[in-house]
């Protein structure tokens, strides 16, 4: 479902994906960079404090400790290395929360390819710290003033620019969405999360989890965590979408909960759109989940019933974030906080279970938003002698 201009480029990309992702040298080099530069394997943390409060055994897969602060780097590094192999002159990318933009900027600097990041003007406002990080890492950042001026408009714009130079540019897509082979490519590169987590659960907890939980926007961190365990029948899966203000159309980004099959950004999947087929403006407190579509593999996993999908509201995500800060000393991204909120609710209904939560990124980037919602009283040295 991609414009004809991109078909040859996508075909060429698919050929290279199949070639390099099965190439031992390429994969060994990727692995060494993941270890030496990204900091993999990321730890598995026993969250005893949350476990005690929830009546569960809780483990966190710590993508917040990966270089640049989120799981996005796994994909960005893999694709940047692929772009270099394919001889790309420049990389273009979109970003929502800015994490993929920062990851791409860092990966491109490390690999040695110039990069341009398209980012919605609204997201630039609410994720300002990440914009500055991209600059420092040498990326050109383009503010997208069209459409809804968030992630969706940034993807529109990135595609539009890729159309203008499909051979010289490599489009480094950040989530498990878009036309084939992107959903497959992103799933492959993110599966390192679940592969590590599975092994760590066996080593540290001694058993696989009863439930694996992750937040779902486009769905790359969720598919990365889930995919390597889908064959483990004892494991249940929970994807948590952004419930925003509530269930009304436009009030959330809960694609799988409220969407219908449709076509956007080159892929046929579940989407939020109105009766005329116009894509719905979405809302979430977390920029990274503020997207009206979802990766096609999640549509499939929902259809076959292998993964359950629920929503968490802005409010419950905020309270889960604060709980994790207070009890575990870990400041999670607002995106990941949705996974905590979903896990907490599931734990109440299923006491005494072993829960693995995908902590997809750190919350430093969310400070502007968090400061608005959670007041920060500053105390000064007073006059008391």
């Amino acid at each position: 479902y991609a414009p004809e201009t991109l078909v040859p480029a996508l075909t060429r990309l698919a050929e290279n994906v199949y070639r390099y992702l099965d190439d031992d040298d390429f994969m060994a080099h990727l692995d060494s960079q993941l270890r030496g530069w990204v900091g993999r394997p990321t730890p598995l943390t026993l969250a005893a404090g949350l476990g005690k409060r929830w009546g569960a055994e809780v483990y966190l897969k710590r993508e917040d400790l990966a270089h640049t602060g989120a799981h996005k780097i796994n994909n960005a590094l893999g694709q940047a290395l692929l772009a270099r192999e394919m001889g790309a002159k420049q990389v273009i990318a979109e970003t929502g929360a800015g994490q993929h933009g920062v990851a791409t900027a860092a990966a491109c600097a490390r690999v040695g390819i110039p990069c341009t990041v398209y980012m919605g003007a609204v997201d630039i406002q609410r994720q300002a710290p990440n914009v500055d990080r991209m600059y420092q890492l040498g990326a050109k950042v383009v503010a997208v003033e069209t459409g809804d001026r968030t992630l969706r408009a940034a993807i529109d714009e990135a595609f539009r620019n890729w159309v203008a130079d499909p051979e010289g540019s490599y489009y480094l897509l950040g989530s498990a969405v878009g036309p084939h082979p992107y959903p497959y490519l992103v799933q492959r590169l993110q599966s390192v999360i679940g592969t590590e987590a599975r092994e760590q659960m066996l080593n540290i907890a001694g058993e696989l989890p009863d439930l694996a939980v992750a937040c779902v926007g486009g769905g790359s961190n969720a598919i990365g965590l889930f995919h390597p365990m889908l064959a483990d029948d004892s494991v249940e899966f929970l994807g948590v979408e952004a419930g925003g203000h509530g269930p009304g159309l436009g009030d959330n980004s809960a694609t799988l909960a409220a969407g219908k099959p449709g076509v956007l950004h080159g892929s046929y999947s579940v989407l939020l759109y109105d009766g005329d087929g116009q894509i719905q403006d979405t809302h979430s407190i977390s920029a990274g989940l503020d997207y009206p579509g979802v990766g096609p593999e999640h549509s499939l996993l929902k259809t076959i019933g292998r993964v359950s999908y629920v929503t968490a509201t802005d409010e419950s995500a905020l309270s889960a974030l604060q709980e994790c800060c207070a009890v575990e000393g870990i400041l999670s991204a607002l995106e990941s906080a949705h996974a905590f909120a979903g896990a907490r609710e599931w734990a109440q209904q299923n006491p005494g279970k072993r829960i693995l939560i995908g902590l997809s990124g750190r919350g430093d980037k969310d400070m502007p938003t968090l400061s608005q919602h959670i007041p920060s009283p500053l105390v000064a040295t007073g006059d008391a002698a």
Partner: protein
């Protein structure tokens, strides 16, 4: 007794008629209901007097293959309440506007409408075919099946980066005409065609008996004249929409292109 031509043949016939008259085929494009819903049909009729085929854009929220002019017009039209249903209602009420109509739409509004119902209502409204920029050949079977039942065209797009084998496939599969996209627009000052463009158009022509129409940034009569040597027709999109935005007479502008 002559058989009534199918809607898709009406498109090719109109372009061939223009060529037979020694003229380059002209396909003006407007975004439906933009900039003013109330004069949509009037505008359509006005440009149909000067154009051989009329292309009507169904506005979409995420026109990812279009430039800023079409983006702007699409978002404004949606905001004004323009929908596929509204367009079909207007066209049906208008009756024959004087030229075959092709709808340009991204896929999702068509999916939301339903392919079979769309084919039926489009045929009833005098629509002769569709251009769908995000529907590649491989994924178009279901939609083509619906269109076939009413003799409607699904115009295929080809590009300068389309490999030769695929070019042949798309040219064979196209209906009404072949839409030859170029990536690098021809700017106003440079009216000569670079050899890679003429080669590309000649190559497309070699694969099809259908008229080949070039989607360039056409703004001047000299460009139309030069393109006419290598293509059956030209599509005039952003330039026309900008004239409408400026309140200029669209027919006069179109007439000037073939003066």
């Amino acid at each position: 007794m002559t058989e009534t031509p199918s809607p898709r043949d009406r498109i090719s016939d109109a372009l061939r008629t223009a060529n037979a008259d020694g003229k380059v085929g002209l396909i003006p494009f407007i975004t439906a209901g933009y900039p003013d819903k109330d004069v949509f049909v009037d505008t359509l009729k006005a440009i149909a007097c000067e154009g051989d085929v009329v292309e009507v854009g169904v506005p979409f929220s995420d026109p990812m293959a279009d430039g800023v002019t079409i983006q702007r017009s699409s978002h404004a039209a949606i905001a004004a309440g323009v929908s596929l249903q509204w367009i079909l209602d207007e066209l049906k009420a208008a009756g024959d506007i004087g030229a075959p109509i092709v709808l340009m739409s991204y896929l999702n509004p068509l999916l939301a409408f339903g392919f079979d119902e769309l084919a039926e209502k489009s045929a009833a409204a005098g629509v002769c075919g569709f251009i769908v920029p995000d529907l590649p050949w491989e994924e178009s079977e279901s939609f083509r099946h619906s269109l076939d039942s009413k003799g409607l065209a699904l115009v295929q797009l080809v590009t300068p980066v389309t490999p030769d084998a695929r070019l042949e496939l798309l040219c064979k599969g196209s209906q009404g005409f072949v839409y030859a996209v170029t990536i690098t627009g021809i700017t106003g000052g440079d009216v000569a065609l670079p050899p890679e463009v003429t080669n590309y158009l000649d190559q497309v022509n070699s694969h099809t008996e259908l008229p080949v129409c070039a989607g360039f940034g056409v703004r001047h009569a000299e460009q139309v004249d030069n393109l006419g040597k290598h293509a059956s027709g030209v599509i005039v999109g952003s330039a026309l929409v900008e004239r409408l935005e400026a309140g200029d007479d669209p027919a006069a502008f179109l007439a000037s292109l073939r003066a």
